[in-house]
């Protein structure tokens, strides 16, 4: 085994990761706050009114980041889960478990903000189009993952069963993303793409990106926080947790 | 042929046992003892590869069983707390189906003989749901009559049996040992097996 691998294993152990996560957390909180304030400032105070949609379009600064995060977190969760299944790292299962509720929250927020946007724009809270439906499925997948894990008491077994589900469910993410391309629907297509030039006003794009970054930082901070709780709970009988706890006394 | 060393078993937060080791060669039987809940069933399931090994090694013919995989299972016969018989099927159908799934050739005549040997003559064609507790156990044990795999792992085979049936099963195990087979067995009753060598291991 070479040195780099050993290093990796060191941080893949809950014992090493717990204090590291504690130290990183404040930075992510600070970054989330800064990006969030900047994004909202740009989105709500600087950006001009949209010609077609009026002021209602400002929901975009919340809706798009939430939608992106819900999909991205699922991918990350599946990645950690798969890693845990393949190599039996204890930490990766915990990461997957920690990410799921936040992912579900963002999926819910995407639906909520989308619904509040749809009422003024399309005249209905909800329509059954492909993207909306597949986002709803994503929420169901998150809930299924959480329900499955909480139904199994043995954490090791819960991790592994959850991992299989997460990996099987990954097929849904590309479906959401490409649904607007594959079926022509009510919902807007991508306006941010790497190949074409942005079709939105530059300032709106900036607002959206800043908000997305804020959500990103927030998600990382919350996941770190939750994983610390999970680590403590699962490792409560180990010596290092005892030392950790008594050192705080 | 079967070597176990430094085996550990943790359930929940409880370490059931640690540092368990033994060796077993052809014609030998391990008689596993211990009070209720000391981890006998857990040990047997680890031996079969049903539960993962957390610490320690299990070697079969010198190789780790995890590596051997199917080759190990090919030589293994496990009989657990549950009977692994279908209540809807008759004893005969159960016996034939389980042989087929284990990839063994068993003709109907041999199966009928096995059932008769275990005192189930006249019940071959009655769905197992109607059998008494002891009769169900006998159906499960009828598999052993024509079983020629090397390693038998039996978890409390005598439960619910009457003394005559216990004698009979003990005879089957004895014959297996004399053919050079290995057996790992737990029971809270007397084993009364005279053939082969019986080693004892007490957990907890």
């Amino acid at each position: 085994m070479d040195k780099r691998l050993i290093n990796w294993f060191k941080f893949a152990s809950p014992q090493a990761f717990y204090p590291l996560a504690g130290r990183m957390m404040p930075w992510f909180w600070a970054a989330a706050a800064v990006f969030g304030i900047a994004g909202l400032y740009v989105g709500f105070l600087v950006a001009p009114t949209d010609a077609q949609q009026g002021e209602g379009y400002r929901i975009i600064f919340l809706h798009v980041p939430a939608s992106w995060m819900s999909m991205f977190i699922y991918l990350v969760m599946a990645f950690w889960a798969g890693l845990g299944l393949a190599f039996n790292f204890r930490l990766s299962g915990m990461m997957a478990t920690a990410l799921a509720p936040t992912g579900a929250l963002f999926a819910f927020l995407s639906l909520w903000t989308g619904a509040l946007w749809g009422k003024p724009m399309w005249g209905a809270w909800w329509v059954w189009d492909a993207r909306l439906t597949s986002e709803l499925i994503l929420l169901f997948l998150y809930v299924g993952f959480i329900a499955l894990q909480s139904a199994i008491d043995d954490p090791r077994r819960a991790d592994r069963a959850g991992a299989i589900l997460a990996l099987v469910g990954v097929v849904n993410v590309p479906i959401i993303y490409f649904s607007v391309k594959w079926w022509n629907t009510l919902h807007q297509g991508s306006s941010v793409s790497l190949t074409k030039s942005p079709s939105m006003a530059m300032i709106m794009l900036w607002g959206m990106l800043l908000c997305a970054l804020a959500c990103w930082m927030y998600a990382i901070a919350v996941a770190l926080m939750r994983v610390r709780t999970i680590i403590l709970e699962r490792e409560r009988h180990t010596e290092w947790v005892r030392i950790e706890l008594s050192s705080k006394e | 042929m079967l070597e176990v060393s430094g085996l550990e078993c943790v359930r929940g937060e409880r370490r059931l046992f640690a540092g368990v080791g033994f060796r077993l060669s052809g014609g030998e039987m391990l008689y596993l003892q211990g009070r209720n809940g000391c981890g006998k069933t857990s040990l047997l399931r680890i031996l079969c590869g049903l539960s993962p090994v957390t610490d320690g090694e299990i070697r079969w013919r010198g190789e780790l069983i995890g590596k051997l995989g199917e080759d190990y299972r090919q030589e293994l016969c496990y009989l657990g707390h549950h009977n692994a018989i279908k209540e809807e099927l008759t004893p005969l159908e159960n016996l034939l189906a389980s042989a087929r799934l284990a990839d063994e050739a068993l003709v109907e005549g041999a199966a009928l003989d096995a059932l008769e040997m275990l005192g189930l003559a006249g019940r071959e064609d009655l769905a197992c749901r109607y059998l008494s507790q002891g009769q169900k156990r006998r159906v499960a044990l009828a598999r052993l009559v024509n079983e020629r795999r090397a390693l038998w792992v039996l978890d409390e085979p005598y439960v619910a049996l009457d003394p005559a049936a216990i004698e009979l099963v003990a005879g089957l195990i004895g014959a297996h040992l004399q053919r050079g087979g290995l057996t790992v067995l737990t029971t809270h009753q007397a084993v009364n097996i005279t053939a082969g060598t019986v080693r004892e291991l007490r957990l907890g």
Binding site: F140, V143, A161, I164 | K86, A127
Partner: protein, 222 residues
């Protein structure tokens, strides 16, 4: 290899014949759910014709799903599953056999029965024909995907309902293409594209699903 799959199928079919009520009742469940809708919705033929593909497919999906919890639970309860896991062949193959057997007793009869029920909804001959085809092509995917859910929830508290929670979202693509095929025929478009996609889903479902299922079963046995 093939011998093993055959052995599993024949055992499961024999068990199914022994509890023949299982098959018959799944069919009756299908019939009843389909017949409930006109009761709940009202009898206008125009409305019913529009409803038909969706209702028939949803009912087929629910009927398949109802029999899923028992796919492995019976085997686990009586210890047979341990024996299967200890068999010298790959567990995935055994699962494949069970999936095929499940389809033979649940999906196939549904597909054969559906056209008759379609008549209640005043569907055209073409549409009836496509309905049967789509069910024939699509239901194996339901059995395959369902097996994953059944294995994951095996021995888990509240298994039955948790199972439907896990499996139904994964069934949605099958439902969309299946009902879409019939709908396309009713509205005069071709069903070709939908059916090909359905076939792709089925191939994927039947040959890919047994492996995660086998992994989940091993976890359940630990």
């Amino acid at each position: 290899m093939l011998k093993l799959v055959r052995a599993i199928i024949s055992r499961d079919l024999r068990l199914a014949m022994r509890r023949r009520t299982d098959i018959v009742s799944a069919l009756f469940f299908f019939i009843i759910v389909v017949s409930l809708f006109p009761l709940g919705v009202g009898p206008e033929p125009e409305l019913l014709r529009k409803l038909a593909p969706g209702v028939l497919w949803v009912a087929a999906l629910l009927a398949t799903m109802l029999s899923l919890p028992r796919l492995f639970a019976d085997d686990q309860r009586d210890g047979t599953l341990e024996q299967l896991a200890l068999a010298p062949q790959p567990l995935g193959l055994i699962v494949l056999g069970k999936v095929l057997a499940h389809w033979l007793v649940s999906g196939l009869p549904l597909a054969l029965l559906a056209p008759v029920l379609g008549l209640q909804f005043d569907l055209s001959n073409d549409a009836l024909w496509v309905l049967a085809c789509s069910l024939l092509i699509g239901t194996p995917a339901l059995s395959g995907i369902g097996a994953i859910g059944a294995a994951l929830t095996l021995g888990v508290r509240g298994g039955g309902v948790l199972l439907s929670l896990l499996v139904l979202p994964l069934y949605i693509p099958v439902l969309i293409f299946g009902a879409g095929a019939v709908d396309a025929t009713v509205t005069g478009l071709g069903a070709q594209a939908h059916l090909s996609l359905l076939a792709a889903l089925t191939l994927g479902g039947v040959f890919f699903a047994p492996w995660p299922t086998a992994a989940a079963l091993r976890i359940a046995l630990e």
